[in-house]
Structure formats: structure tokens, C-alpha cells
């Protein structure tokens, strides 16, 4: 058993699969991070992914072009995010509930549309959909072990890696990032500073929609080559937990998503040797919760420590003043 796991963990193929299973989670986690930073929880990420996965397949098979499929998928995913924004920000709906509702609409709606188009409820294999290309990186592919892991991945995997930089720049380098965080932290103060919170939240939702759209298209046009019902498999929900593990930062998202990816890839492997697939499939979700708890625990401890210090230093100052 131990030997088997050691063998798996050192194989390049395992890490190849890890990166591949991490990519979609990473994309949606980044989406969850940016909306959470703006103070709105995008629970509809799951629905965004489902619609993107389906529409990507339909558009690519209709046009014969995977890129048009990707574009259409991302477009519909943004649309879902905008609908969430409309209900949550314009109609004062509870954002979490309307997100959940949009996921239900997506769960039922994607199967409904798939069945109406193909007569099949489970899988879109009758549609001649295209797959997004894999990239071989010229020099890297020749490096012994690393080349096998990093080169030859689907293009979305690389886009996911770039998205980390992109979201990190948005959040930390650009003015809009400061506005996003201000809106999320204290909406009244943001308003007083002349920021329109509704607009900022819409912006964050659109970005998260794009990211979830990429993730959704990857699932049906790269990770697998079909749309299957429920293809998102709760990744949109996992993202909202991983967002907390990520500590609300883009770089943290890598670790949070990796945690899920490692377990997910390990589950694929352990299943192959016939080791109780049910228990192993539960692993990624269980580990995410565990990470979730540990991170909030550590954060709370640190926060308490900081407050204690602040308190201590302020009382010390007072004593000094009294001494004078």
C-alpha cells in the first residue's frame, strides 16, 4: 500500500493528472476569490460551469470550431453571473439562495436542452463536438521528468496558471483591486470614498463568470470530450470552500486547488487498483473541509494574537503617559 502510493507519487504521470484535475478547480476558486473579496458570494459558479460545458460542446459541434465553442461557453457563463448579479444586486435577493436557484436551473436546464437536442439525457456523444488543443512546450518537453508533467497539457491548464497572475494583478496591483477589497470590507466606507459598490460587484461577477466559463469548457472539451449530466460534480461548491482555504488571495488559490487536485488524482489511481472507490471519492471533499477548518482556525488564532498585542501595546502607552 505504502509502496504503491510512493510509486504513484513519484511517477510523472500522476503529477500530470494532478495538474489536469487542479486546473478547473483553480479557475473557479479564483472566481470565488475575486467575488468574495468584493463581498458577494458567487454560489452560481456551479451553474456557470454546467452551462459553459454544455454550450461549449453545442457551439463547437455546430461550427466545427473549438474556439467558437469556448467563446460561446464563456459568454453563457458570464451571462449566468450577470443574472445572479441582477437578482442579488438589483432585486435585493439573497445572493446565496439565488445562486443555489441558478444552479438548480442549470442542473435541470442543461439536461433538458441536451435531451431536446439529442434525445439523450446522459451524454452528448452524438454531437460532433471539438476538443481544445494540448500544447507541447518546445524546450521544456525534453527535460526528463518535468517535461512529462508540464508539457503536453491542455491549453486551458496553462490559461489557468496565467489566470493566477491575472487575478493577482487585478487584486493587488490595480486600482480596481483596491476598490474591490474596499467594497468587500466596508461597503459604507467604500461608498463614502466615491466607489459604486454595485458596479464593483458586477465587475467581480463578470471576471468570475469568465473563469468559471473556462473551467466549464475545459471539463467538456479537454478534460473529457463530451458533456455529461452533472459534469461540474460540485466543483463550483468546492471553489467556495477552497476560496476560504486560499485566504482570499490568488496565490493561495494554487494551494487550495492543488489540495483538491492531489486527492482527485489519487482517487483516480486508487480506483484503478480496486480500492473502495466510494471512500476514495469522498476524499477530495473531506480534505477540502479539513483544510477549510484548519485555515480558519489558524486565522482566528493569529487574529486573536494580533488583537492581544495591539491591546497590550496600547495599555503600555497609556502607562507611559501616566508616568510622565
Amino acid at each position: 500500500m505504502i509502496n504503491f502510493i510512493l510509486g504513484v507519487v513519484t511517477s510523472a504521470n500522476y503529477w500530470f493528472i494532478v495538474l489536469r484535475s487542479t486546473a478547473p478547480i483553480l479557475l473557479v476558486t479564483l472566481g470565488a476569490v475575486i467575488t468574495a473579496q468584493a463581498g458577494i458570494m458567487n454560489m452560481a459558479l456551479e451553474g456557470s460551469m454546467l452551462w459553459a460545458a454544455l454550450v461549449g460542446v453545442i457551439a463547437s459541434s455546430a461550427t466545427g470550431n473549438a474556439w467558437i465553442g469556448l467563446l460561446a461557453g464563456v459568454g453563457v457563463s458570464v451571462l449566468v453571473a450577470l443574472v445572479l448579479g441582477f437578482f442579488a444586486l438589483k432585486l435585493d435577493a439573497n445572493a446565496v439562495l439565488s445562486g443555489v436557484a441558478l444552479n438548480l436551473v442549470a442542473t435541470g436546464g442543461t439536461v433538458f436542452v441536451l435531451f431536446s437536442l439529442t434525445g439523450d439525457k446522459g451524454i452528448s456523444s452524438s454531437l460532433p463536438s471539438k476538443v481544445l488543443p494540448a500544447l507541447t512546450i518546445p524546450l521544456v518537453k525534453d527535460i526528463p521528468w518535468i517535461g512529462k508533467v508540464i508539457s503536453g497539457q491542455n491549453i486551458i491548464v496553462y490559461i489557468a496558471a496565467l489566470s493566477v497572475v491575472f487575478v493577482d494583478f487585478i487584486l493587488r496591483r490595480f486600482t480596481i483591486g483596491r476598490r474591490i477589497r474596499a467594497t468587500g470590507e466596508n461597503i459604507e466606507a467604500a461608498k463614502a470614498a466615491g466607489i459604486d459598490p454595485v458596479r464593483i460587484k458586477f465587475f467581480a461577477l463578470i471576471v468570475s463568470g469568465v473563469l468559471a466559463g473556462l473551467a466549464g469548457c475545459f471539463l467538456s472539451m479537454g478534460y473529457t470530450s463530451n458533456f455529461t449530466s452533472g459534469i461540474a460534480a460540485g466543483r463550483g461548491y468546492v471553489a467556495n470552500a477552497a476560496q476560504v482555504v486560499a485566504g482570499g488571495t490568488a496565490v493561495g488559490s494554487i494551494f487550495a486547488a492543488m489540495l483538491f487536485g492531489l486527492m482527485d488524482a489519487m482517487a483516480t489511481y486508487l480506483q484503478n487498483i480496486g480500492l473502495m472507490p466510494e471512500l476514495i471519492q469522498a476524499l477530495p471533499y473531506a480534505v477540502t473541509i479539513l483544510g477549510f477548518v484548519v485555515v480558519t482556525f489558524v486565522r482566528d488564532r493569529r487574529e486573536a494574537e494580533r488583537k492581544r498585542r495591539l491591546f497590550a501595546s496600547s495599555t503600555m502607552k497609556k502607562e507611559n503617559v501616566g508616568g510622565m
Partner: protein, 361 residues
């Protein structure tokens, strides 16, 4: 009688009722529009969708059977929503409750009558303990209870099917099925030659129990106060943490009992190949009932009506059953939108203000 009069006279309580009605009618209309878009024989499909329970007596009894589990999850979510919590862990409570009931129904010998009762109690206790988890995570680590409950639902689903597969499976069957239940475990039928079982009455009894609990006992009152204003509840000396915990235990308990009732009432073995996800139906039932367990049977009836109609229509036509999930999402969207809910209230207020202004001039 008094409440009926209040319903018609007191316009304050009329507004939310109107919204509920609006959501129901809107979802029906949306369903009809969708049928017309995709169906090649729309009139036949719409007829099957709307009139299913009256076309076949089988459908009518099926409607009543469908009501049972969603009444349980609806009640469970009423308790949670009274607290203004969003945990969906009742899904896991119901699923694991069904697994626990299966273990008791297949492994233990008890006299008829006592056997299902013991199973329901055990399933309820396990379901209640599971229900506690998101609440503990929230209280102790401020983890969002919706997110953690959804994660835990996956974990418990896989755990439950693991137990069925490795400890309770009937290996002589080709499809996934547990060993057959002992005869003593099965609930009697309410109407001979139909599937309608005593579980229907058990569900009705729980509606009464939860209504009394929430509106006629101190503990229920504490739940409602804590939900309405936790800070006020704290200052009033209500042990808020304890209240949150026992409310979640009760909610999970209801889910667990629901799972056991389904098993002993409807099935001869555990044959769920997938998570039936009754918690999502419970969300709509509880929202349509406006968190009041008293109205749960009405909203469960409406949802069961939609489901039976969609099921009947999809088996006799070209519209996928899943469109019901789409309609359910639409219902929640409407009910969750405060602006829509307040629209009716605001309009009346505006009228009153305009009128009083006119008078003062």
C-alpha cells in the same frame, strides 16, 4: 376560522401569500411555455403535465407518496430557516438515515410495528448528529454552513453507498441493491393494492409535531427569537449556541426519520443508485411555506403535483423530466427576491401615502 378571516381581512399577511401564489403560477406558465418550445405534440404534453394526477388513479396515489419525503425535508428546512441558517445537511441526514434503516431492516429481527419504529428512531438520531456538524463548524470556526454542508453531503453520500456496497449488498442481484428487508420492517399499506403507505400518516403527524414545537413551546420560541435577532436573543438570556445546536439536531432528526420512512414504506430493499437529493425539494417546500411548518403540506402537495405531472408527461412524450428542476430553480429565484416580495407591499404603501397626502390637502 379566525385565521381564515385574518387571511382575507388582514392585508399585511396577504402580500407574502400573493408572492407565493405568483411564484407558483409563474413556474407553471414557464413550464407550459417550455413545453411549447420543445415538444412536437405540445397540447398533449401540457395536458399530461397539468392533469396527470386526475388522469390515472395510479398517478394520484403516486402524488401522495411523493409528498412524504419532501414533507420531511421541508419541515427540516423550516426549522433551519427559522434560525436564518442555510445548512443543506438534511440531504446527508436523509441518505444516511436510509442507510441506517437498511442496516436495521436487514440485520436485526424485531416484531412488526416495533421494527420500523426502532429503525426510524436510530436513523433520526444518526441524522440529527450529522445535522449538528455544519452548525458546529459555523459556531466554532465560522465556516459558512451552506458550503460546509454541501461538502459534507458528498462525503456522507460516498460513505453511505460504501456501507451499502460492502456490508449490506445483495450479491445475488446484478443491479446495486441491499439485502431484502425483513417482512417485519415493512410499513403496512394505507390503501390496499396501491403503494400508499402508513408513512404518509407519520409525515402528517410530524407536521403537527413540528408546528406545535415551533409555535407552542419555549424551545420553538427560542429558535424563532434567535433567528429573528440573535443579539436580542443573547441579551434576553437565551443560550444562543445551545439553541442553534438543538435546532440543527432536530432538523437532521427529521431528515433521518424521513429516510427511514421512505425505506420501510416504499421499498423492499435499498435500491437508490444515486442521491435522491430531497433536500433541494425541501428548500422549495420550506420557502413556499414561508418557514411555517403549518403550510408545509400545501407546498409539498404543489411540488409533488409538479413532479408527478412532469414524470407522467416525460414518460408519454418528448419532454425531459429534468425540466422540473429548472422550474424549481425559478420558484426559488422569485421567492428569494426581496424586491419582488416587497413590490406588493410597497405599492400598497405608496397608495396609502398618496391617499393621506390628498386628504391633508
Amino acid at each position: 376560522m379566525n385565521s381564515i378571516r385574518r387571511f382575507f381581512v388582514d392585508r399585511e399577511s396577504l402580500a407574502p401569500a400573493l408572492v407565493t401564489l405568483f411564484a407558483a403560477v409563474f413556474s407553471l406558465l414557464a413550464g407550459i411555455v417550455l413545453i411549447f418550445i420543445v415538444s412536437k405534440q405540445p397540447l398533449q404534453s401540457v395536458q399530461n403535465f397539468l392533469l396527470a394526477p386526475f388522469l390515472r388513479s395510479y398517478n394520484f396515489y403516486y402524488l401522495l407518496i411523493v409528498m412524504v419525503p419532501i414533507t420531511f425535508t421541508g419541515l427540516a428546512l423550516c426549522v433551519v430557516y427559522q434560525l436564518r441558517y442555510m445548512s443543506l445537511i438534511v440531504d446527508a441526514s436523509l441518505y444516511v438515515g436510509a442507510v441506517v434503516a437498511t442496516a436495521i431492516g436487514t440485520q436485526i429481527s424485531l416484531p412488526a410495528g416495533i421494527h420500523p419504529a426502532v429503525a426510524m428512531l436510530a436513523a433520526g438520531l444518526v441524522g440529527g448528529l450529522i445535522g449538528l456538524l455544519p452548525a458546529i463548524l459555523k459556531i466554532r470556526w465560522r465556516a459558512n454552513e451552506l458550503v460546509s454542508s454541501l461538502m459534507l453531503n458528498y462525503v456522507f453520500y460516498f460513505l453511505g453507498s460504501f456501507i451499502i456496497l460492502y456490508y449490506l449488498r445483495d450479491r445475488s442481484q446484478t443491479i446495486l441493491s441491499s439485502l431484502p428487508f425483513k417482512r417485519t420492517f415493512l410499513l403496512p399499506r394505507l390503501v390496499p393494492n396501491t403503494q400508499l403507505h402508513v408513512g404518509f400518516l407519520i409525515a402528517a403527524a410530524f407536521v403537527a409535531l413540528v408546528t406545535i414545537f415551533l409555535y407552542r413551546t419555549r424551545w420553538g420560541y427560542e429558535i424563532r427569537i434567535t433567528g429573528a435577532n440573535p443579539r436580542f436573543a443573547m441579551y434576553a438570556g437565551i443560550p444562543v449556541t445551545t439553541v442553534v445546536l438543538y435546532a440543527h439536531f432536530i432538523s437532521g432528526f427529521l431528515g433521518g426519520v424521513g429516510g427511514a420512512v421512505e425505506m420501510s414504506g416504499l421499498y423492499r430493499a435499498f435500491i437508490w443508485q444515486m442521491d435522491p437529493s430531497y433536500a433541494w425539494d425541501g428548500v422549495i417546500v420550506a420557502m413556499l411555506a414561508r418557514r411555517n411548518p403549518k403550510f408545509v403540506p400545501v407546498s409539498a402537495l404543489f411540488l409533488a403535483y409538479l413532479r408527478v405531472g412532469a414524470d407522467f408527461m416525460s414518460r408519454r412524450g418528448d419532454v425531459a423530466f429534468e425540466f422540473i428542476t429548472l422550474l424549481q430553480g425559478l420558484i426559488i429565484l422569485i421567492l428569494a427576491s426581496d424586491r419582488i416580495v416587497n413590490y406588493f407591499k410597497e405599492r400598497r404603501l405608496r397608495k396609502q401615502v398618496l391617499k393621506s397626502q390628498g386628504e391633508s390637502r
